[in-house]
Each structure stands twice: as C-alpha cells, then as structure tokens.
C-alpha cells in the first residue's frame, strides 16, 4: 500500500518538471489552482468549483501572427503543466477534448506538455456526486481503461493509496519517485466494452425531441443568460477568433466563446438564431446531450454539477432532466 508520504514525494518529483495545478481550498471553496506548497493539495476528492479546462484549452491563445503579408503559426512556449488529482468525471471531459481537438495544432502542442494525474477517493467522492440518476458516476472495474491519464491515484477505505500508470510518461515519473507498487492500465478508448451509456441514449432522444416541452418556456422566465454555466462546464469548448494589434502588426487569437452571449449565432444578414433565452438554453443542452453523443458516441455531460453550483438563479441540470422526462 502506498502511503500519503509517498504521494507527497511523487508530487514533489512532478513539481521539479511541471507546474502543478490541483484542487485547493480557498475562501471556503475548492478551486483548481496553481500549487506552490504541495501540502495545499486537496485529497478529499470533491469536484472543484471551476473546471480544468483552462490548462488544456486556455481562455485566450495566440494562433497566428501576420508577417510578411502572410498568416503564420505563432511561436508559443507551451508550459509544462500537471493537472493533479483530476476526478474521473474531469478525465472523461478531457477525453472528450482529446477527441474534439484531435486535428487542432495548438491543442496538441499544449497537450503534449501536460501531465495528467487522476484521483479517486472512494466514499467522499460519491457523496459529493449527490443523488444523481442521470449520469454514470460509479467507479467500475473498467473505468480506468476508458479515461485518459498518465498516473492515477486511488484512495482506498484505509486512507492509503493504489497507483496506476496510464502511459510511459507516467511510468517514468513513478520510477523517479521510487514508487514500484503500481499497475499499468491500457487506454481502450472512451466507449466501454458494453457499449454506449444507456442513460446517454435516453437523454439523447429526450432532448432531441424536446422543442415544445414546457420546461424551456419556464426556464425562459428564470434564466438571465449570464453564461456562468458555460464558463465552468468542463465540456464547453466553443470559441471565437479575434484579430488584435501586436508589434505594429496583427495577431489572430482564439478566445473562449459563450453561447449565452448575444452575438454567438448572429449573422451579418441580421438573423439571430438563439435570440430568446429558451433557445439559448436548448442550444446548450443540445450540445451536451445531442451533438456530442451523436458525433462521438460518448456523453457530452459528465455530471459534475458545476453548472448548478454556480447558477445565480438556482437552475439545476439534474432537476431539469428529470422534468424533461415527464411528458
């Protein structure tokens, strides 16, 4: 059994090479933050308020610079970053990103420089996941084969740890930390052997045919389209391009978009296809429950509940899904 002391050594070894980002308690909330002192890393297994998205897909990144009458790929020093103690749900979201951005030069360059350390703490995590029936939250025997990670730490009931490696990079780090007691897990794609998640298929049909459901009209009166849900969602990845002045020339950068904001679907001809709040909400739900499952055969919502936790008007995704199930 691996003890906390050995995990601390592992974190220190990682810190020699990488900037560590981990869940950290700040002002009574848990945030994914940069860790200076490894003693501040949270091992409770709770889901942080913000998502890990910004490590892999930053809110603003330079794509091209304009030089000698051409657009050229920007030279960026991609930082060596480690996401430490990422929950299974967040690793599912990362797996989705890896699929969505499989042809994205900037994403891949950044991703190559990251180290992913997953984490599961048995009882506290499940407690934190609340009483969810719409999502697959359980830690099954084959869960680890279907999420991406370099190293995975599982806290057992005794408070000690089990370690898994998911890549050669992970094995190297474990060896450096003199951890010999680990198992190797071979990533077998995001879809489990038993096939696509049944709850996903049910929600797919539900949301796809929900256009006239009264829930949208009800939410239309409550939601203020602040876009916080989309800011914290680990599976939101929409973006805009911006041309900005830079050193007497121009740079084209990519910035996070937000489908709740007014111009998101507006065309030059004056049409705006998600003008009403109910259309914006349905557009967002369709992304999670219709488009992603259709394209990638995996759930587009990992059930982390972040959107409900930050919503200023207390809209709860799980309640909404249950409501949609009622005719």
């Amino acid at each position: 059994m691996i003890k906390q002391k050995q995990i601390d050594i592992l974190a220190k070894i990682i810190q020699r090479e990488y900037d560590i980002y981990a869940p950290k308690q700040e002002a009574e909330e848990l945030f994914v933050s940069k860790i200076e002192n490894i003693k501040n890393i949270d091992y409770f297994g709770k889901i942080p308020l913000n998502s890990w998205e910004y490590l892999f897909f930053p809110p603003c990144e330079k794509m091209f610079h304009y030089e000698k009458n051409s657009f050229q790929e920007a030279k960026v020093d991609y930082p060596k970053v480690c996401g430490f103690n990422m929950t299974v749900l967040d690793l599912k979201a990362l797996g989705l990103y890896d699929l969505v951005f499989k042809d994205d030069v900037n994403y891949l360059k950044r991703r190559r420089n990251t180290l992913v350390v997953g984490y599961f703490a048995k009882s506290p995590s499940i407690k934190n996941y609340q009483d969810y029936s719409n999502f697959a939250l359980d830690f099954y025997e084959n869960t680890l084969e279907h999420i991406p990670f370099d190293i995975f730490i599982e806290q057992t009931k005794t408070g000690n740890f089990k370690i898994y490696s998911g890549s050669y990079k992970g094995q190297d780090i474990l060896e450096k930390a003199k951890i010999k007691e680990y198992q190797n897990v071979k990533f077998a794609g995001l879809i489990p052997e038993e096939g696509s998640d049944k709850r996903m298929l049910e929600l797919y049909n539900l949301i796809k045919n929900s256009k006239d459901h009264k829930l949208w009209a009800e939410l239309d009166k409550i939601c203020i389209a602040c876009g916080k849900c989309s800011q914290v969602c680990p599976t939101c990845f929409c973006f805009d391009f911006e041309d900005i002045p830079e050193n007497n020339s121009i740079a084209r950068q990519r910035v996070w978009g937000n489908c709740f904001y007014p111009e998101f679907t507006a065309t030059a001809g004056g049409e705006n296809y998600t003008k009403s709040i109910k259309n914006k909400l349905r557009f967002w739900y369709e992304h999670k429950f219709v488009r992603i499952p259709h394209e990638y055969k995996i759930p587009g919502c990992v059930g982390c509940n972040r959107c409900s936790n930050v919503c200023p008007v207390l809209i709860n995704i799980n309640k909404n899904l249950n409501e949609l199930k009622k005719k």
Binding site: F71, D103, E242, I250, T267, G269, E271
Partner: protein, 276 residues
C-alpha cells in the same frame, strides 16, 4: 501538421460592381490553384488581417475551379466593407473549400431540377446553374425561380443570355418595387413574393428542388412545393447560420445534432425540417 485554421493567400484578379452593394470577386490562389477543387454549394472563409473572417458561398462554375473561383460580397458589415475597398491584385486570406454542397443533379432520383433562390440566396445556386447549363440542361428540364427586392438588386444579369440559350427556364420576381419592364436581360419578370411564381407559371414536374434564401422563404416555398407534388426527400436546402471555424468544432453554426459548416450548408429537407 496541417493547420485547418491557417488561411491561404488568394489574389484578386477581377472585380465587378454587380449591384449598388454587391461586388463580384474573381480570386486565384497564389499557390496551387491548379489543385483546387470545390463542389457547387460549398463555401469559403474569407478574411483580411485585422478584420477577421466570414463565410461566402463560392458562385463560379466548379468545372473551372483549377483556374479561379468567384465570390459575391454584399456590403453589410465591418469585413465586407473592407473587402469592397479592395483593388485588383490585392490579397485576401482564404480557407476553402468548406462544407458539403448540393447533390449531383445527375445522380438524383428525379430527372429534372427546380432551383429557387431568394435575395442573396441566389448566389450558391449560381454555380449549379453554371454547371448544368449546357449538357444537363439540354437533356433534362431546369427551371429557376429567382426572387429579388427590385430590379436594381438583380444579380448575374450578364449570364442570363447564356443560360436561356442553354434551355434554362429562368423566372424573376420582385417583391419590393414593381418594374414597368416585361423583360430584364431577356428574362420575364413579375411582382410579388416568390411563392406567387408557383401560381403564375407551370412548375416543372418529376423534379428535385434546390432552395436557398432567407429563413422565412423556406417555409412558404416548401409548402408550395409539397402542394405541387414534390416529395420532402427531393427537396434540398442551403441553410444560413454563423459558419465560423468551418470544421464543426466552434459551435456557432450548430443545428440540433449537426453543424451547418461541416454537415451542410446543404441539407436534405427532412434532415432539418424541424429547424425551418
């Protein structure tokens, strides 16, 4: 690795002021134009440094794609105003071809072809007309309904003669301002909404229909088509949304489970009828 967001340079080889606010640009890639192939109905993301990018339908004949391609630009905003300032030999920055275009008229279940375009929606149909006028239009019936606000906004007038000579049955209709003329560039014209043409002229039968125009037009034109015995699966529509990344990632043009930029802009009507 190929970067799908990296635009390539094209040179403006010809500019034509088509109407008061529409210019036609003939463009040529600086490199590898001879390897450029597109299919009618596909689009291009065209931009300028500092002005971003926007989607434009390619409106030239796809059979000459290895020589040049054309776009029509209506001056409506920030980028299009700047594009309108361009002179011959200026450089635009392009990502193309993108999306899925119109089906091949030769492979459709129905032998004939009805094209219905409203306003700027006529632009993506132009490349189809160019392709079918000649071989296809001589062995099959091709009818075109073009609805426009008034005479001053009619596009591609100088091509009408060629199309008519090749048995393309083109009809014009204006919905804002009447004209005293009976013919415009040899084409008969009337006054009213585009749906009026379905009552005024004999609509060809045994045909597939290609539609492009403002969203409101689809609903009423489809109604007319169904009344005239067209089947839903023989109707194709080119959808307008905010195409942005062009490869189905950024979400701006999402339509239910599809992306207009990647799965469209041309869809078989039953695929998108819930979004019309």
């Amino acid at each position: 690795m190929i970067n799908p967001y990296l635009p390539k340079k094209v040179r403006v080889v010809e500019i034509k002021q088509e109407t008061e606010d529409v210019k036609l640009f003939k463009l040529k890639f600086l490199e590898d134009q001879k390897y450029f192939y597109f299919w009618h109905g596909q689009f291009a993301q065209i931009g300028l440094p500092g002005y971003g990018e926007a989607p434009f339908d390619i409106c030239s004949d796809c059979n000459v794609s290895t020589k040049y391609f054309e776009i029509a630009v209506r001056k409506v905003g920030f980028l299009t105003s700047k594009l309108h300032e361009a002179k011959k030999n200026d450089i635009f920055y392009v990502r193309a071809p993108l999306g899925k275009g119109w089906p091949d008229p030769k492979t459709l279940a129905k032998p004939n072809l009805l094209l219905v375009g409203g306003g700027c929606g006529f632009v993506p149909l132009k490349s189809v007309i160019e392709e079918v006028s000649g071989g296809f239009s001589k062995s099959h019936k091709v009818q075109v309904f073009y609805g426009c606000s008034d005479e001053s906004n009619v596009l591609y007038k100088d091509r009408y003669n060629h199309w008519l000579e090749n048995s393309v049955d083109l009809k014009l209709i204006f919905d804002k301002k009447k004209t005293s003329k009976k013919l415009i560039a040899g084409v008969s014209c009337s006054f009213g909404l585009i749906t009026k043409l379905f009552d005024e002229v004999k609509v060809i039968d045994e045909a597939s229909a290609f539609l492009c125009g403002p969203p409101i037009m689809f609903k009423f034109v489809v109604e007319k088509l169904l009344k005239h015995g067209f089947l839903e699966e023989d109707i194709y529509v080119s959808m307008e949304r905010k195409m942005y990344c062009g490869i189905g990632v950024c979400q701006h043009c999402a339509l239910g489970e599809k992306y207009v930029c990647k799965d469209g802009p041309v869809f078989n009507y039953p695929e998108v009828k819930n979004y019309i």
